[in-house]
């Protein structure tokens, strides 16, 4: 499965110094944390929260494609459904935001378990098509089910009060919650990838029959990775609906599945920081180029083509390759 798009291979071995980070990764991580802490004082917090939600979504997606080599084309289902359930929990059941977000994650996990159990039986294009087919079913369910509000979506979802103490109606307080969720999700993905479990996942990506011959039940590993990825996507979707106070069909539509593929590709498949970079680039473009209207999608297309032709490792992958380090 590993094509030139994956930045595995010929790097010098680096010792893991902290939390499974190599020295360069640790520097990059600290830099990222500093940026996350400092940027709300310079940029618009609501915009940054959107970036963080999508960054987490892209990290979750990257766990699957970057480290197991499974291209899911239906991740919008977990992201969108997580958003709907979290929104419904916060609005109709009056649950606090932290519980609502966890419900979003649980929704993603359960959906992922059901869809994943069927999809991982096939590989390559068949796997992608099965995930897409299920995502479309979820979309139709959301279109028809009464609790989703059809094409109006769930509106006016309250942000609520975190742990009964912090009022999230302030954008800055909401930002710190979002940043916390993102960093925990990011570290979780990093931990998964660098655990013995993650090593098995990578071996499946490189050569699945060989992993099987070594005695690993590869299907179980793939399903586990699928569920983890779906759960994190659900958390990202749930956080997004709390931030914006809305959950709508946009987030379950298949174009959302395409966007997360684009983010991972632009940032760098199979790099820890790549999806974050990809989310920053794509969301910034959508936001600041919005005045160009239809040209946004054209520009996105051009960037996609450029990445595939000239920067196959993605932005972060290319930087890592240039510096001869693994990022």
């Amino acid at each position: 499965m590993a094509g030139p798009g994956f930045s595995g291979g010929d790097f010098k071995h680096e010792e893991q110094v902290f939390l499974g980070f190599t020295r360069t990764q640790l520097i990059a991580f600290v830099l990222m944390v500093v940026l996350v802490v400092v940027s709300p004082f310079y940029f618009y917090p609501v915009f940054l929260m959107k970036v963080l939600c999508f960054a987490l979504f892209a990290c979750a997606f990257n766990l699957l494609i970057g480290y197991v080599g499974l291209l899911s084309f239906g991740h919008a289902a977990y992201f969108g459904m997580g958003g709907y359930l979290a929104g419904h929990a916060a609005k109709e059941w009056g649950l606090p935001p932290e519980i609502a977000i966890l419900i979003g994650g649980a929704t993603g996990a359960i959906l992922g378990l059901v869809i994943g159990a069927i999809a991982i039986r096939r590989q390559g294009i068949y796997f992608a098509m099965i995930t897409l087919a299920f995502a479309q079913m979820v979309y139709f369910f959301c279109l028809q089910a009464p609790f989703t509000g059809g094409e109006d979506g769930i509106q006016s979802i309250p942000r609520g009060v975190l742990f009964g103490v912090f009022n999230l109606n302030s954008d800055m307080t909401m930002y710190w919650l979002t940043a916390g969720v993102f960093l925990i999700g990011f570290l979780l993905v990093h931990r998964i990838v660098h655990s013995p479990f993650g090593m098995v996942l990578k071996s499946i990506r490189e050569n699945e029959p060989r992993a099987t011959s070594l005695g690993y039940r590869t299907d179980d590993y793939k399903l586990m990775a699928f569920v983890l990825s779906a759960a994190l996507s659900g958390v990202a979707g749930g956080t997004k609906s709390i931030v914006f106070g809305i959950a709508t069909l946009t987030d379950v539509f298949w174009t959302m599945s395409g966007e997360v593929v684009l983010m991972s590709l632009v940032g760098g498949l199979g790099t820890i920081f790549g999806p974050v970079m990809g989310a920053v680039v794509i969301i910034t473009m959508q936001n600041y180029l919005a005045e160009f209207g239809a040209w946004v999608t054209v520009i996105q297309g051009v960037i996609f083509v450029l990445c595939v032709l000239a920067f196959r490792r993605g932005i972060v992958g290319e930087i890592g390759n240039w510096l001869k380090v693994r990022l």
């Binding site: 618009y44 279109l143 979506g153 509106q155 809305i246 069909l249 959508q286 919005a290 239809a294």
Partner: protein, 415 residues
């Protein structure tokens, strides 16, 4: 494929980024006598012709016609494309209000986006003048003291098309309904008005949504019911496809009326009269309605994109801004900017009157009311010139055209 020169690409990208980033850092100072209007609509997709740049042209015309500049009020317009996505629309709205000192959010087609904007504007105590969203929830369950719904809504469309059509002789109906909440609601509301006016509904067929492109079997079913009117309870591409296929079957030429429940004059323009003839639809504005609408159209036409004539959504933007600027000039800019609710209350207190939408009043629930018109699309032989598309079938007076004040379940009315 030869290798692209990465160095050149990177250099070019860096130069572009540096160049592009410059204007963004210019601080936006705002003079004390300036109000800022944010036109938020679809600039690139499905509703570009219905709203899009045409709405912006109408806003600029309103600023000019209102004459407030001479009275010392400076008006600035910013434009945003919400791409019909609620998250994009709500990010732009928050950013406009929080960072760019925008006072009024205007237009906003697509109900899901409009409802999201409605909530944000209310939280921030600004003003939301909605011209182009259809949902009657904006003045119903989700009504807000900061919002005025200007031009039309689903209730008014269903009532005029359903009720007035029966009075015009179309007393038996068959519905072709898109099988989702919006289609069901349109069908339910319209059949209610058909029955109330003494008509009969002979049947309906549900078309899978989205994804239905072949409406022929549904049209045959509708024709065999021998109903005088086929109601299209769908929107956008579905409406266009069903109209085109009905034209191929010659449905309207055999005397059956086709009633589109959500349809705009720009759709008639792109379909052409050959296809659209005999179609019945409801609008609250038509450029060729009277001398005032013709005068308005003549003024704004040079700046309309692609020579389009304004439709009701765009005319509504003109009318709303005329009324808003009149109120601002009376209150003074600092007072008008201070509280969205206060300014909206002042706007509600006086009747609206402008060339595009004529006379109207704004109710306590935020619904602006005016007479509503049921039109039939002319045949190519009847049409005398460019954009001569409609003949008037029925006019519903303002007091009867909209949902009665007490029935919307709006909290502003109960209190």
């Amino acid at each position: 494929m030869a290798h692209l020169n990465r160095r050149a690409l990177l250099g070019g990208a860096a130069a572009t980024a540096a160049f592009g980033a410059l204007p963004a850092h210019v601080a936006r100072a705002q003079a004390a006598n300036t109000v800022r209007i944010g036109v938020l609509n679809d600039q690139s997709g499905l509703y570009r012709d219905v709203n899009g740049p045409g709405s912006v042209a109408c806003v600029r015309q309103a600023i000019q016609d209102s004459g407030v500049t001479a009275r010392g009020v400076n008006v600035e317009v910013v434009v945003g494309d919400h791409q019909n996505r609620p998250d994009v629309g709500s990010t732009i709205t928050r950013q406009w209000i929080d960072r760019d000192n925008v006072d009024v959010i205007l237009d906003v087609p697509t109900s899901s986006v409009a409802l999201a904007v409605n909530t944000i504007v209310r939280e921030r105590n600004k003003i939301f003048l909605n011209s182009s969203a259809a949902t009657s929830d904006l003045t119903g369950a989700q009504c807000s003291p900061n919002t005025i719904h200007w031009t039309y809504d689903t209730y008014m469309l269903a009532k005029s098309t359903g009720g007035a059509m029966v009075r015009a002789g179309g007393d038996t109906w068959f519905f072709i309904t898109a099988d989702y909440a919006f289609g069901h609601a349109l069908e339910r509301d319209t059949s209610g008005f058909v029955r109330a006016a003494g008509g009969r509904v002979l049947g309906q067929v549900r078309t899978p949504f989205p994804g239905t492109t072949d409406f022929s079997s549904f049209l045959v079913q509708a024709q065999s019911s021998r109903a005088k009117v086929i109601g299209l309870a769908n929107a956008g591409g579905d409406t266009i496809n069903s109209i085109k296929q009905a034209a191929e079957f010659g449905v309207t030429r055999r005397g059956t009326k086709l009633a589109a429940l959500l349809m705009f004059i720009s759709d008639v323009h792109s379909l052409g009269l050959e296809t659209a003839q005999g179609l019945v639809c409801t609008e609250s504005f038509y450029w060729d309605l009277n001398d005032r609408t013709r005068a308005f159209t003549q003024r704004v036409l040079p700046s309309m994109p692609g020579g389009l004539r304004p439709g009701m959504g765009q005319a509504g933007c003109y009318s709303a801004i005329m009324h808003y600027l009149k109120t601002v000039a009376e209150m003074g800019v600092p007072a008008a900017r201070a509280s969205g609710v206060e300014t909206v209350n002042r706007m509600k207190a006086q009747p609206t009157n402008d060339d595009a939408m004529g006379e109207g009043t704004i109710r306590p629930d935020g619904r602006r009311i005016q007479p509503v018109y049921l039109f039939e699309v002319k045949t190519p032989a009847e049409s005398r010139g460019a954009w001569d598309y409609y003949k008037l079938l029925q006019t519903t007076p303002a007091a009867e055209a909209f949902r009665p004040l007490g029935e919307g379940n709006c909290a502003l009315v109960r209190s």
